[in-house]
Amino acid sequence: MHTKTIAELAAGLRDKAFSSEELTRETLARIRQHNEATNSFITVSDELALAQAREADRKLAAGEAGPLTGIPIAQKDIFCTDGVLTTCGSRMLENFIAPYDATVIRRFGQAGAVMVGKTNMDEFAMGSSNETSYYGPVRNPWDLDSVPGGSSGGSAAAVAALMVPGATGTDTGGSIRQPAALCGITGLKPTYGRVSRYGMIAFASSLDQAGPLARTAEDAALMLNAMAGFDERDSTSIEREVPDYSAELNRDLQGLKIGLPKEYFSEGLDDAVARVIEAAIDEYRKLGAEVVEISLPNSNLAVPVYYVVAPAECSSNLSRFDGVRFGHRCEDPRDLEDLYKRSRGEGFGAEVKRRIMIGTYALSAGYYDAYYLKAQKIRHLISDDFRQAFDKVDVIMGPTSPGTAFKLGEKTDDPITMYLSDIYTIAVNLAGLPGMSVPAGQVNGLPVGLQIIGNYFDESRLLNVAHRFQQVTDHHRQIPSGFA
């Protein structure tokens, strides 16, 4: 059962081949079996899952079921879940049981999905390797000595290891697409504002966006159908009709215009990864697409701009973790300053502290114009690059990450190298565009992801482009040994 996709499981549930309770029990057993190896989950919510499964079975029996009814889904531990521990990968929230559901959680609940647990992640979603988690690193199912990518590493590894058919992620600079690429699965970061951020613990508010991680584009579409939509609780969510993302999956790609940014195929890109991407592009040619070279001239500025904007926002967003109302509080504070310093000093890990300091500096009097304001201006230039590109092409393609999964510990002492692993994904967040990563092949037994970037609100097209590829390739069907 665990090898089935969401679409296949939904059919099985509908046909009464198995019940949601059976499916959920098996999923929970598989999580127990493999979680020790990958450390994908921080919390497994057995009881809640079984209760939701039984409710789903009732709906299935009553004929009230939708495509996600009874399907086990893992939720990134960044989403607040009513009555369930919500850690955000941090010691700071080691004891935080959220008193409410994030909108994403509520929507999955309304769709009848079963939440089996909360997945591991980089602390406060700050990281590209899932090594900054207070709950230990996640291991890549393709090589347990390698990282799964981050920050949605737990979700990506859980899907890749066939522990769950789908999981949620959040993507601030590549945190869905990069782990999807490194774990050989399909991930989609929607247009900024497409999915509500309410209840999703903020890292960088102007960049954060939730999206699905699954094995196929078809499944990602089913999940996005449940997630997307305006939310009056999130002023930055956009009031715009949500299409049926499954409806356009099979559209013909004849005449599709694909742009390849020359900047994404230059220095820094692993040769073998480049060859995999080129082979994938050839598949698209065979499907009738037209491929043209384009330029995104400000691409080289994306990483530096991101590392001003994201830390600036995070330095403010994380101020609420002060030991006063919730979360970690130091023992026996002497006075207020001691309470703040020790609670935050003990509660946050090194990478989070680094970014809070960078961001605090960037916003300081005398530096604001030179850093934050300038970064915002360049951000507009980066968006303009994409706007011009989309005048000429339908989608943009390139590698998701410059290399395959790296070894645990390999880049932890070198933050700059670590930051560069998101060099192709970050610009998409700065521009607020939707982007996907789909498995495109392997290098030395490790998956390579093809990134597909679309115009604003063009998720249907991205899913269509990814789905057609998956119909003629089997990269997304590969299963890491030991997890069959």
């Binding site: 919500t86 955000c88 903020a202 002023s235 609420r320």
Partner: protein, 478 residues
């Protein structure tokens, strides 16, 4: 040396919305601690602010009332600092692009002249919670009911030159926000409070002196006192050869002193930046027009009309229009009795005195405008006159009914039957032949004596005009 004082005020006025500026929680005052704070107010992980549209309308209304520019696209920014009653570690405020731009108000000075004071800007922001340092045995209690309450911060130009001008300005703003009903202006509950920036400079000097900011003053009286104290302190320093340091000071009403809170060196860097959780606030001309339709007659316009329509002095019109409630009360009385002068005298005189004595607002007056008008009608139609009217008023104040009922039950109706008055006068004259002689001998002052005797005999109910007239005739005729 002669010194000149320079003052600018930052007034925080709480907007009278039912729910908070960024959440649906209630804003009512005086609830049990932390019962009016929802997940958003508590700054729980993951929550997001959603702007209450009503506060935007109120800010626009204020902008229109002071003839200010309304910013078409204003931006909420985060003001970052740590404090236990500031749940998110930042306050959502407006910084570079406030919703209300430059405007102005006119204040009246003691010498009867008027002065225009510039308003630099007014911006929307959320209030913080309250830290309670007593009753917690070395700990601090946090009440977040107030967190997220909408405030409009009104920043003046440094246009005021005395504590009295500052108070006049503050009163004017207070009157405006109440007129346009965007705030209850309740100072005891902290709905209207101010920070004063105070500096002194040698008279004639162009540059401003170094200023001190006096924080959180919540009464007109305290503003005046605090500024006067601060001016005195700064002049003392300067005259003894010292220099004033830029700092934030606190006014202690109990000790009647200001003391330093923090110097410029310790001043916080708030790291303002646009709040990415909120979109810029867009205000269209259409929005502005819609709000303009809701604007009532403002104090200055009403004052001018009172002078024009009721022939009141500018000073009286100023008093009667200082608060919207009082102006409405006055006009209701005028409407009821038809005599503006009489109404003005009674509203400012007897009624004003009673209200003052019992420390009541016009809204709580036991004598309604209709009741007062009813009584004034009885003065106009000679049923009663001044002295008796005061007695009737007192009875109305005590809740003994309306004027007619009181006049009736107490038998206070004026005696206007000239026959009755004549015979009374005859009696008085007959009983006081010596005084009659004196009067006739040229001592005209004696008239007052006779009037007094007659009033005494009638319990003050005889019509004084009639008494005078008949008395004079009789004394002449004898």
């Amino acid at each position: 040396m002669e010194w000149e004082t320079v003052i600018g005020l930052e007034i925080h006025t709480q907007l009278a919305t039912r729910s908070k500026i960024f959440s649906g929680a209630a804003t009512a005052y005086g609830a049990e601690p932390n019962t009016q704070a929802c997940a958003v107010d508590l700054g729980l992980p993951g929550v997001l602010p959603v702007l209450n549209g009503e506060v935007v309308r109120m800010a626009i209304k204020f902008g229109l009332a002071i003839d200010a520019e309304i910013t078409p696209l204003s931006v909420f920014a985060r003001k970052n600092y740590f404090y236990p009653d500031l749940p998110k570690g930042y306050q959502i405020s407006q910084f570079e692009l406030p919703i209300v731009g430059k405007g102005q108000v006119t204040i009246e000075l003691a010498d009867g002249s008027s002065k225009v004071v510039g308003v630099t800007r007014a911006h929307l922001e959320e209030d913080a919670g309250k830290s309670l340092h007593e009753d917690f045995h070395g700990m601090t209690g946090i009440d977040l009911n107030r967190a997220g309450t909408p405030l409009l911060e009104i920043v003046s130009e440094p246009d005021m030159r005395s504590a009295q001008e500052a108070v006049a300005y503050m009163r004017k703003i207070h009157s405006i926000v109440r007129y346009i009903e965007i705030s209850d202006g309740n100072m005891q509950e902290g709905s209207f409070r101010c920070d004063a920036n105070v500096s002194v400079r040698p008279k004639g000097q162009k540059e401003f002196g170094t200023r001190a900011e006096l924080k959180n003053i919540n009464s007109f009286r305290f503003v005046e006192k605090a500024i006067e104290l601060e001016v005195e302190r700064q002049i003392d320093i300067l005259e003894s050869g010292g220099t004033v340091v830029q700092e934030t000071r606190l006014y202690d009403a109990n000790r009647n002193e200001t003391r330093s809170m923090r110097s410029k060196e310790e001043a916080m860097d708030y790291r303002y930046f646009p709040d990415p959780d909120l979109l810029p606030v867009q205000v269209t001309d259409e929005d502005i027009e819609k709000v303009r339709q809701t604007l009532p007659e403002l104090p200055d316009a009403k004052k001018a009309r009172f002078v024009e329509d009721y022939s009141l002095s500018s000073e009286d019109a100023g008093i009667l229009t200082a608060s919207r409630e009082l102006s409405i009360y006055f006009e209701t009385v005028v409407e009821g009795c038809g005599e503006a002068k009489l109404a003005a005298n009674w509203v400012m005189g007897e009624l004003g005195g009673y209200l003052n004595r019992e420390n009541l607002d016009i809204g709580n007056s036991p004598v309604s405008a209709e009741m007062l008008a009813g009584m004034l009608k009885r003065i106009s139609d000679n049923t009663i006159y001044g002295k008796i009217a005061k007695e009737v008023f007192e009875a109305m104040w005590k809740g003994e009914g309306d004027a007619d009922a009181i006049i009736d039950s107490k038998g206070l109706k004026q005696i206007t039957d000239s026959g009755a008055i004549e015979s009374l006068i005859d009696e008085v004259l007959a009983n006081n032949p010596k005084q009659v002689e004196e009067y006739r001998g040229g001592k005209e002052k004696m008239l007052g004596f006779f009037v007094g005797q007659i009033m005494k005999a009638t319990g003050g109910k005889a019509n004084p005009g009639q008494v005078n007239q008949i008395l004079k005739e009789k004394l002449k005729g004898g």
